[in-house]
């Protein structure tokens, strides 16, 4: 579904990604892990068209994404959440989600100006759908509150609902449980599992090993801009390179087996 081939990215002289290749299969929950600064978020920025690769190609459902504008990439079916939360703070939760439906609201200027039935029906459906999505992440009771008033964890859930509103085929989640407590984490994990069961393909960046190992069918490990391992969770857990590079040496490797 999503294929990165020999993708490199440098900012000025700094090589942030070098010859990164991997494939995310449709229907999978795919995980990308790696130490701080490894280049994980940069991978998402490349996929969503916010930055262009220095070399290599990214293709989605067989079509190259090179030179495609971010909003067009979203319309092709890729949505994401952000590591540093980017909800629309001054809008209600409901409006945040409805903004995600932008490309799917298809009414004419006349319909809009004269409030014709087609316009009203689509807007009504959008609201109903937005409420559904908010309930899915457990936020519907706050639908009319401003996003700014929500906790960190709730804003992450809101971003998830908003991303789903774009009707993606592939969902990119950048550290969805960062800054959450254990209870919130397992709650969100259940939500993500439910989303995956509905047939969405999910590509998740995460530090929390328990979370990643529990959720993903395949995992790639990024270290200093290179993919050093890729495979099933059990393989990754045992891979000595991964243990050394990502999870630290000796003493810390115990946390891996514990995870």
């Amino acid at each position: 579904m999503l294929e990165l081939t020999q993708v490199s990215k440098h900012f000025g002289g700094v090589e942030v990604l070098q010859n990164v290749s991997f494939t995310v299969q449709a229907g999978q929950v795919f995980g990308l892990i790696g130490p701080n600064g490894a280049g994980k978020t940069t991978v998402f920025n490349l996929i969503t068209g916010l930055i262009a690769p220095s070399s290599g190609t990214i293709s989605f459902n067989g079509q190259p994404l090179t030179g495609v504008a971010p909003h067009q990439i979203t319309r092709r079916g890729i949505a994401r959440t952000f590591q540093n939360i980017r909800v629309f703070k001054e809008m209600s939760l409901l409006d945040n989600v409805i903004v995600g439906m932008h490309a799917h609201l298809d009414y004419s200027a006349a319909g809009l100006l004269l409030s014709l039935p087609g316009f009203r029906q689509q807007e009504r459906q959008a609201r109903v759908r937005a409420h559904e999505l908010l309930s899915m992440v457990g936020l519907d009771k706050n639908a009319y509150d401003l996003a700014d008033a929500m906790s960190y964890g709730d804003q992450r859930k809101l971003e998830l609902a908003r991303a789903l509103a774009t009707e993606p085929k592939l969902l990119l989640l950048d550290e969805p449980v960062a800054g959450m407590n254990t209870g919130e984490k397992s709650e969100l994990m259940r939500v993500i599992v439910r989303i995956a069961e509905r047939g969405y393909t999910i590509f998740v960046i995460e530090h929390d090993m328990r979370f990643v190992m529990g959720l993903c069918q395949r995992i790639a490990v990024l270290n200093f801009g290179r993919i050093i391992a890729e495979g099933k969770p059990e393989e990754i857990k045992r891979n000595p390179d991964v243990i050394e590079a990502y999870l630290g040496r000796d003493d810390e490797s115990e946390t891996v087996s514990a995870a």
Binding site: T48, L50, A69, P70, H71, T74, R75, A79, R80, F82, R86, V87, F88, K89, E90, M91, D95, I98, V99, G100, M101, H102, A103, L105, Y107, L112, L113, L114, S115, F119, E123, L146, D148, A149, R162, A165, T166
Partner: protein, 295 residues
């Protein structure tokens, strides 16, 4: 009735100025609501005014055609200059659009054969009736009201808050910015066309930096949170000099002070529905709202 006639005889110009200024305040509302500080609206007003005046004076066009020309010309110019300039952000966009305004002013000054240069255009037929202004204002407010409740209005707001996140929601950021800029230009042009056919005379000095600051002050004072904002802003800024007649020479300075005070203390303007709603909520709960502090 006689009382009204007397009132109208004295104040009709003032009332119509309020209406025209409200249109101008709305014209910059569009770009402000996308988070863009574009300062070209005085120039767009000028383009609209000269286009419409030339149409009625030199081409013998009807007032309707003149008004349409007054809307269309600045709108077309906005589409052309918007492409390169709207990619700029913040202060760079403000500078580029101010520069554009200066270019327009100098072009008007130098195209003497058409525009009368520094002497301006004299003897414009006084075709603007009170109801032209009222109908224009109502129509524009209606369009705005509909826009705000649609995907377009939400897209503007999303772009204002975070244009990267907006793009990743599938919103064409550039096309919406261009739309906002062009609609604002058209409305500023309409205001210019109506004004030109009200005042008999127009000159290039009317569409310079001072006018730009005036427009901005009205919009910022009123706030962009609600539809009534620009109208309230226009009302205050138009009436203020009447009440402070002795301070007339300090008009610009007073505008500047108002801008500073509003930005410092009421960044959302005096008309801010969400703040009013919050006040109501708070007084109903009877306790201070401290959720904002907990982040």
């Amino acid at each position: 009735m006689e009382g009204f006639d007397n009132f109208w005889a004295v104040y009709s110009n003032l009332v119509l100025s309020i209406g025209i200024n409200a249109l101008l305040a709305i014209s910059i509302w569009f770009t402000l609501s996308c988070g863009l500080l574009a300062m070209a609206n005085a120039a767009f007003m000028g383009i609209g005014a000269y286009t419409a005046a030339l149409l009625t004076m030199k081409a013998g066009a009807s007032f309707t055609v003149a008004l349409l020309g007054g809307i269309g010309a600045p709108l077309a110019v906005a589409l052309i200059i918007g492409m390169p300039t709207l990619r700029l952000s913040g202060v760079y966009l403000a500078m580029a659009t101010l520069g554009f305004g200066e270019v327009v002013r100098i072009l008007i000054l130098n195209a003497e054969r058409w525009t009368g240069g520094a002497l301006g255009l004299n003897g414009i037929p006084q075709l603007t009736q009170w109801w032209h202004v009222l109908a224009s204002l109502v129509a524009v407010l209606l369009v705005l009201w509909r826009l705000r409740r649609s995907r377009v209005g939400r897209a503007f707001e999303a772009i204002k808050e975070d244009d990267v996140a907006a793009a990743l929601m599938g919103i064409g950021v550039m096309s919406h910015k261009l739309l906002a800029f062009a609609l604002g230009a058209g409305i500023a042009g309409l205001a210019g066309a109506l004004n030109a056919h009200l005042t008999f005379f127009i000159g290039p000095a009317e569409y310079g930096f001072e006018r730009g600051i005036d427009i901005l002050t009205m919009a910022v004072l009123g706030g962009t949170g609600g539809l009534a904002g620009p109208v309230v802003g226009a009302l205050v800024i138009t009436l203020l000099p009447e009440f402070l007649r002795s301070f007339r020479n300090y008009r610009l300075m007073i505008n500047g002070v108002i801008l500073v005070l509003i930005v410092l203390f009421l960044p959302k303007g005096i008309w801010d529905p969400s703040r009013v709603r919050q006040w109501l909520k708070r007084s109903r709960r009877g306790m201070p709202d401290n959720t904002a502090g907990v982040r």
